[in-house]
Subunit: 284 residues, 4 copies
């Protein structure tokens, strides 16, 4: 059997796009496995994701032949192998619950990724609760003075390893504008609270002080505007007056771990498309 | 502007269906507003729902022209006006919270329906908490002896009013096999508990006796097998040891009301397709 | 049987409070039906709520005898009849779903209240979807110029009717500081979004523009700081990119209705105690 | 500071219990840190849990002095050190996600336990995704013929290690009646579905075949009646027609992991009291 492909595209909405795209596949003997589309009637934009068995035609040929059609509609598009593990760099600081969750899901085959590097601004000892096995670990401490140099090192590691995705798994450093721009669209952060509610530091303590009755977590793409990037996934759960800030932190670990893992899964499976400052998420 | 249409269809999955269907629309000047499809890879079945602006072609012409294409794929299909209020008969017994919820949503325009009859096996006094206004009310008491005759009356009212959907809004009578078959696919029941957990009578008391920590409600199509029909929508929420059976009944009212209303909305908008004993629900 | 009482109290935490309070009841033949307490270890404050059958002693005698004990601990406290319906004034503007929900729950006996007045800044026609029956309706239009006078009218109606609670059921006017202070601790607002996320106007449109993946609603006591009062109850649910602002408004109606109704129920049952800018909510 | 204690008790409900118990503590200089009680008005039973700082009196003295009071009320009771890690034996088969979750939570200090043994009916290789470090691992294969002997081995290990709690973390063997009785009240199972919905094998496949719209997991004490023991905790989440059985298994892993971990936490903190076939869970 041929390896399944996944086509993702977005463009201005016009009549006939679906017909043209699915017709293109049908004519070449492709067989749709899963297809989703979204007509954003506010911005008149169109988004589509198709998983398909390409039959006898190679991905290279399909790409070459699809290019004129895509150009005609002014599409942004991508035609990728569905099941190839994406190379992922994970960045972490002192809390390793998100890292532990990601690596466990990778080991049992839930996340189709290839962890090429783990980077921390703290020594390996900081993530001692997590078994990282033989994965390459890079300790890159950072201070205000060394931030530019440290970020250059991060970019160098990403380049050398061919990292396609950077996951900030409770990496407690703010990326510079330059760094955020460098990794635009391929860097996911877990904000350890329910955005846009509590931005900045110690959000669970903020939530406790405000007396809210629910807490949550937010996974989003990193942009220059801290905590303002396109949201991929969120979840929340009820809390009560009896929950101390420490209880909120404990409950938050669970929410953060699963929200980040779900966002990473969605991204790895090419299910997240950018729609300005928002996302289109083709779940499944 | 032309009235939008909604096309729903299901058939065995084969390459090219989406291309053919969307090509058909495009060639006739149709413009897709919303489209969803589902390739059920276990049963090799295909399901599709398309909302579209038909342009200048009438629904009748489209139906005639689509018929051969549909026949070629062996489709079950329907081409309906999207915004025409469907005629609905609501059946109720002594508890009127689901009825009240449905009527309120209808009055504010949330549910595009035309309530053609309210039928109860109890006198109008039983639903006195709900303002039914001028809606036709039919008191059809039922006993074991009169069940066949009463059900015939129900069918007669449905026929006379042209009811397209029958909603059992806490109607506490079991339909006969004949009646269930008569209204197959167009009769929605709210089971006042989380199926398949607690079937039969007093499910909240059963749930309390079992000490479960969550309760829910289930909206499903009525079939001959009581409480076994295809499920449209469910919801659940946490409870605790401190909740008495009466507390569960109170919490249940909320869940029942919103689960039934959502199932009715989904059905009215042609978003629910049957897939054997299950449903495909194209949310939105 | 004697009418059950409910005692609520708060004070600085000190050893022996529970023993003294429950001992007081026991010595007088009282029988505890439900009791909850909260030791806030951050602020060293103590909160308690006890439902009890007072036996043969009258509420007046108990109040007189409890006063010295309460004074010794510096308590804020209240000893109330548990089942007496509280007099409630409901204020509303153009959207009546919260009003409809509250009145239905009152009619079926779910909310033990006595609705003494419905006040709107719009004519009765605005809430035509809701059957208010014979409940006194007051149309009190308001402009910037007449705001002070209109608020005085509201206070006058509250005084005349003996309203113990004011519920802002989507009353779309901001209370003046004076008015907020007048009704402090006995005025509940439903904020039609998840605080502290989207304050101010059109929160669902804000949420859509931000691309969040969950929306919610917040019921809180009204204070001078708009949208900053102590939170009583919140709920949230998942949304997707496919939800338009109108979809969010529709989903929001459901959340708002049930969050406000729950907050009102908790308040009516004396289950909400103030803890600075936060609340202690003794659920049940 | 003295080590905090936790007192749990249950008995027939009678006036004065709370006063007597809290009075007992106060007279001895104890200071209540957290207290909860439940008056079960259906069974006329009373349940209480108090965390307190005992002051200068030792646990042994308190136990001796409390015994007569407890006897007078016919209490079942326990007076334990709140923070002493309980000795826990974890049993597992081929799926190790619950084990991984428990061990991670233990390592970061979230679960105050002392894992004294990991027992599996499969070789250590089966749980290779989980770092069990130096924890004692026992491979105890089991067949129909060797079941009695294997269960005796399990009891022997529990006895030797002083295990206070046995956690069946996806241990896919049914305990014999004898074994279930032996560990009554101190053996927690995770049922990988939402009870009482889908009992027995492959519950997620059952759920998929039935077309339900929510799945969940249930943590309960093990009793002779398989899948019928007192429920400690449950959770559920929405699924759709597009979820394959494999998707349900993936989503189930998350729910199972967190439901089991929460049940274990509640048990370790002495927050779960038995009430016939049900539980009283004093959350916090």
């Amino acid at each position: 059997m041929t390896a399944p492909l996944v086509l993702t595209l977005s463009c201005a909405d016009r009549p006939g796009i679906t017909a043209k795209v699915t017709g293109f596949m049908f004519e070449r003997g492709g067989n749709v496995l899963e297809a989703q589309q979204f007509n954003d009637r506010e911005s008149d934009a169109f988004f589509m994701r198709v998983e398909f068995d390409p039959g006898v035609v190679s991905r290279e040929v399909l790409k070459a032949e699809f290019a004129p059609l895509a150009a005609g509609f002014g599409m942004e598009w991508k035609l990728a192998l569905r099941d190839r593990p994406r190379r992922v760099m994970i960045m972490v600081s002192k809390f390793d619950h998100c890292l532990a969750s990601l690596l466990y899901r990778w080991r049992i085959g839930e996340l189709a990724m290839d962890p090429v590097a783990i980077v921390s601004n703290h020594p390996r000892e900081s993530i001692r609760h997590t078994d990282i096995g033989d994965l390459p670990f890079h300790h890159l401490p950072v201070t205000a003075e060394t931030k530019a140099a440290q970020e250059a090192q991060v970019r160098a590691i990403a380049a050398e390893t061919g990292a396609e995705l950077v996951v900030l798994a409770r990496y407690m450093q703010i990326l510079s504008d330059e760094q955020a721009a460098h990794f635009a669209g391929r860097c996911i952060n877990i904000h350890h609270s329910f955005l846009p509610g509590f931005k900045g530091a110690k959000p669970y303590h903020q939530a406790h002080a405000r007396g809210v009755k629910m807490i949550g977590a937010t996974a989003h793409y990193v942009t220059r505007d801290l905590d303002e990037g396109p949201i991929i996934h969120q979840d929340a759960e009820a809390i009560s007056h009896a929950d101390s800030p420490e209880d909120l932190v404990r409950k938050g670990r669970d929410i953060e771990s699963r929200v980040l893992a779900e966002a990473v899964r969605l991204h790895l499976q090419e299910r997240v498309l950018l729609n300005g400052q928002r996302t289109v998420v083709f779940g499944g």
